[in-house]
């Protein structure tokens, strides 16, 4: 709604400390969704090196996987994907009207579960890179 004057942080992200679970779930879901879309482009770019022959593709992949930063980003990608999927399932239940009174708990559960899966994946992702 239009404001007759600037009310400062009353109405914007400056209130983030006061956001509740459902709001955070929404913000994270949008964020992770768009990161995944962004990754899709990178993914296609890397895969399309295969059109220049098998060796080019193998070299590109080897070159990328040799970089520590790529390994770290891969952990980040997994984190984003896992959260998006788990919270996506939560949202599907919300759409079906199942367990709406536990929507905050299911958000925390997706967070914790994502965290656990990501931590467990770290050894696999970074092995040999550092």
């Amino acid at each position: 709604m239009s404001q007759s004057y600037d009310r400062g942080t009353v109405e914007d992200f400056g209130r983030w400390k006061e956001f509740s679970a459902g709001m955070w779930a929404w913000i994270f879901h949008k964020f992770t969704g768009w990161v995944l879309v962004g990754y899709l482009f990178t993914h296609i770019a890397v895969l399309s090196t295969a059109t220049q022959g098998a060796t080019t593709y193998t070299q590109t992949i080897r070159g990328l996987e040799a970089l520590a930063i790529v390994r770290v980003l891969e952990v980040g990608l997994l984190a984003v994907a896992v959260f998006h999927i788990l919270n996506g399932v939560r949202l599907l239940f919300v759409d079906l009207g199942v367990g709406l009174e536990a929507q905050d708990k299911s958000f925390y559960a997706s967070l914790v579960l994502s965290g656990a899966i990501v931590v467990a994946s770290v050894p696999t992702f970074v092995s040999g890179a550092f």
């Binding site: 709604m1 009310r7 509740s20 459902g22 759409d95 009207g97 929507q103």
Partner: protein, 297 residues
């Protein structure tokens, strides 16, 4: 919710009475004096507590703004120190501040019992009813602001016109296709299950807290908003209105700025002072709308 008032133990007293009745007169006498002494002790304790409490002052930080008075056009926060008493609500504190310190402090209130819906405020960063919010449940100092996403008219008074427009736009009145015959006592009976289904949705007091908390409503002025959709739910789910009327109601809520704008952030459900499961109702209407339009042939 805690009112901060200690309720006295009555159960133990009645138990004592029951057993005492069966015992001798002397015993009854002894129990009587004992009870009296306990009551005196209670009173004494209470008085002491109240004395202690009166030294307690709540600090209020109240949003002030008055475009019509020179020097007050700039929004600012005023601080008030109000003596605290047990059971004090935010509205009590505001009334005290207005009556004792600054009679120009402006806010809406009427029923003081969470039924008129006029004192939804932004208290410590959350939409709450002033009269339903206990001081003891808040962190002090208490920051009181007008509802976000609505134009401020003066101090804590916001312009509710847009909210009311959205409420009116869903035709919030009972409109049945058929009325019962005179011989049927002219009563429009509803069965128990159906009444139970719409029970929570009938409790809306038009306070606007939900609309103010909604991030989508803030960005889309045409969005019906949680309260209006809940109103539509209240009538669409009422079986007495008939099938055609339900179709009409579904048409209203599945417009571009209707139920599909809801992103299930649950902010409205969190703040509703009448505990209406708003998100649940919006989601159910979404499913109704889909069922209504889905054809497999």
């Amino acid at each position: 919710m805690s009112t901060g008032i200690q309720e006295s133990e009555t159960e133990a007293d009645t138990e004592e009475q029951d057993t005492a009745a069966e015992e001798s007169a002397a015993q009854r006498q002894r129990m009587e004096t004992k009870r009296q002494r306990a009551a005196e002790r209670d009173l004494q304790e209470k008085a002491e507590e109240e004395l202690d409490d009166s030294e307690n002052a709540v600090e209020l930080k109240v949003f002030r703004y008055d475009p019509e008075v020179e020097g007050k056009e700039e929004p600012r926060f005023d601080t008030f120190h109000v003596p605290f008493f047990k059971g004090m609500t935010v509205l009590d504190a505001l009334i005290y501040a207005r009556d004792h310190f600054d009679s120009s402090l402006t806010f809406r209130h009427s029923c003081r019992q969470a039924i008129c819906g006029s004192d939804a405020l932004f208290i410590n960063g959350r939409q709450r009813l002033g009269c339903k919010t206990q001081m003891v449940d808040l962190d002090w100092p208490v920051r009181i602001e007008p509802l976000p996403h609505q134009d401020v008219v003066k101090d804590l008074v916001v312009d509710m016109e847009h909210f009311y427009d959205q409420m009116e736009s869903v035709e919030p009145y009972f409109d049945p296709e058929e009325t019962p015959k005179k011989s049927d006592l002219e009563e429009q009976r509803q069965d128990r299950e159906n009444r139970e289904k719409i029970k929570m949705s009938t409790r809306c007091i038009w306070c606007g807290a939900c609309m103010s908390s909604c991030n989508i409503a803030a960005g889309d002025n045409e969005y019906l908003g949680p309260a209006a959709i809940n109103k539509a739910y209240r009538f669409a789910m009422d079986e007495r209105e008939g099938e055609n009327m339900k179709q009409h109601r579904l048409n209203i809520i599945e417009q571009e700025h209707g139920v599909w704008r809801c992103q299930t952030q649950f902010s409205c459900t969190e703040v509703c002072p009448k505990d209406i499961p708003l998100t649940e109702h919006i989601q159910e209407l979404k499913r109704e709308a889909v069922k209504n339009n889905l054809k497999f042939w």
